[in-house]
């Protein structure tokens, strides 16, 4: 009568009853089987730690991302720079335009014209953002938080511009649109910065 495998395994792992050990001491067949089980355990322990399956999804992500973004990243960046520069020229032209020195002397008319220019600048920057395909990009939650923060600040400005009470003076409107253009410009830059971030390149060019 030889021992069952379970009893031998228990003995190997130091969990067997005393009579099992006594039997093995007097039984060459069971002793040989025990030695075999110990050898298997040693071999298993010597194997390298099994890793997760190859990161196939990452490879797919890289291929898709590289295909989708490819050289377009460069074009988008330069288009953004061109648009921002054009907006800069428009705003700078406002600064340079002859205007009355005080509000009483008719600065209100200048404000109307400035307002139109600022709204146009805001429109142009929005167009750049809409072409920047943010949602197809790898974003760290830190960068995403930065973008979301800027969006919230713009939303607050918009809430004031669109608020239920009209009542904004021209000057207040100009101030808010100035803020909006500056925030939009920051957002365009944030989109551009994340397009060139290490996180993005890690996926695209690994």
């Amino acid at each position: 009568m030889h021992l069952e495998s379970e009893e031998l395994l228990a003995l190997r792992d130091g969990e067997a009853r005393p009579e099992v050990a006594a039997h093995v001491a007097g039984c060459p067949a069971c002793a040989a089987e025990l030695e075999h089980l110990r050898a298997v355990a040693r071999e298993l322990a010597g194997l390298p730690v099994a890793g997760p399956p190859a990161d196939r999804w990452a490879t797919i992500a890289a291929a898709v991302e590289a295909e989708r973004r490819g050289r377009r990243r460069l074009r988008t960046g330069l288009a953004a720079a061109a648009a921002v520069a054009v907006v800069g020229v428009a705003i700078a032209a406002l600064v340079l335009a002859p205007r009355p020195g005080t509000r009483a002397a008719g600065a209100g008319d200048a404000a109307v014209s400035d307002l139109e220019q600022l709204i146009g600048a805001s429109h142009q920057l929005e167009s750049v953002l809409q072409g920047s395909e943010l949602e197809g990009r790898v974003l760290s939650s830190r960068d995403a938080a930065w973008i979301v923060d800027l969006e919230d600040r713009i939303a607050l400005v918009d809430a004031r511009l669109a608020g239920p009470e009209p009542g904004l003076s021209r000057e207040q409107a100009v101030a808010l649109w100035l803020d909006r253009v500056e925030l939009l410009d920051a957002l365009v830059e944030a989109h551009g910065a994340t397009a060139n971030s290490p996180a993005f390149q890690r996926v695209s060019y690994q």
Partner: protein, 310 residues
């Protein structure tokens, strides 16, 4: 000033020329050109701001007035909105969109500045007080409702389906943030340009990131597109490219986040919006697709300052 204008024009032509010959450009040149363009625009804006400050009889916003405005706005965030700024339009009669809030409901639905909103769910907006009319109709719809927005673009009539919603901002945290801005004494409007500019130049967010626990900063996300969606067996969701450093947030590379506490996740910025809305110590459950099967992961939001690096 004239020198500044000339340099802006030079930058513009450089950028346009580079845009035409993009295939031959050195990638390394891109960031400095872009930076320069942004810098020029900011200088121009700053000069205009200074002009207005020195020519207006009354200061735009003194701090006390500003506090009142901020308080009112914070209270007002709790109304559903489309996320547009409009003005009256006579032909066609309606609300001409001057601005679309980035990331807002109208932006997501594809509305653009220049479009004229004619009706919302069949109700005519009219040209008399379109702002007021829109606020009222959207308020009646309520948070999360969908609205059929009929609008004119160029010469065609189109319809956008917009899901109106309250702003997903944390009022309490936002109030603290604005209070910090106020106390710094430099705030002009609701945005703080100078501080913002420093943050951008350094490439380091200071306020926005404050809402997201530090241990989560390295979490990297990307929207699923069709090809990736097919591979992962889900049509929607956000792919985790890299997990966070925080053991308490058990997301791993290759997980697809489907929803957080039942809220479907639309993209990386939307996921971040949801994640940052929790307070330290709060628990959240995240539904993910992991290795082809749906699982629900539990996480506890760590202290915002906790991190593993320094």
């Amino acid at each position: 000033m004239r020198k500044a204008i000339v340099s802006v024009v030079v930058v513009m032509f450089l950028a346009l020329a580079a845009g035409a010959a993009v295939e031959d450009e050195d990638r390394d040149q891109l960031p400095s050109e872009v930076r320069e363009a942004h810098e020029q625009l900011r200088e121009a804006l700053e000069t205009l701001r200074e002009y207005y400050k020195s020519n207006w009889e009354e200061p735009l916003l003194d701090l006390d007035a500003h506090r009142v405005v901020v308080k009112r706005e914070l209270g007002d965030l709790k109304r559903p909105r489309l996320g547009v700024v409009v003005t009256g339009s006579e032909d066609p009669a309606g609300a001409r969109i001057l601005a679309v809030t980035p990331g807002g409901p109208a932006d997501e639905a594809g509305l653009r500045a220049g479009d004229v909103i004619v009706t919302v769910n069949g109700r005519e907006i009219g040209s008399d007080s379109p702002s007021h009319a829109l606020v009222e109709v959207v308020r009646e719809l309520g948070d999360g409702a969908t609205a059929n927005v009929e609008f004119a673009r160029d010469d065609s009539e189109q319809v956008a389906v917009v899901t109106v919603r309250e702003m997903e901002v944390d009022n309490e945290e936002l109030e603290k943030l604005v209070q910090m801005d106020i106390e710094s004494g430099e705030l002009e409007g609701l945005a703080e340009p100078r501080e913002l500019r420093m943050r951008i130049l350094e490439g380091l967010p200071e306020h926005g990131e404050w809402f997201v626990p530090r241990g989560w900063w390295k979490l990297e996300l990307v929207s699923l597109d069709r090809e990736l969606g097919e591979y992962f067996g889900t049509e929607s969701g956000v792919l985790v490219v890299r997990g966070s450093d925080d053991q308490a947030l058990p997301l791993r590379g290759g997980d697809v986040i489907l929803s957080i506490d039942g809220r479907p996740v639309k993209g990386p910025t939307h996921a971040t919006r949801i994640l940052r809305s929790y307070e330290p110590g709060e628990k959240l459950s995240i539904e993910v697709m992991r290795k082809g099967s749906r699982q629900t992961l539990e996480a506890t939001v760590p202290d915002r300052k906790e991190h593993s690096e320094d």
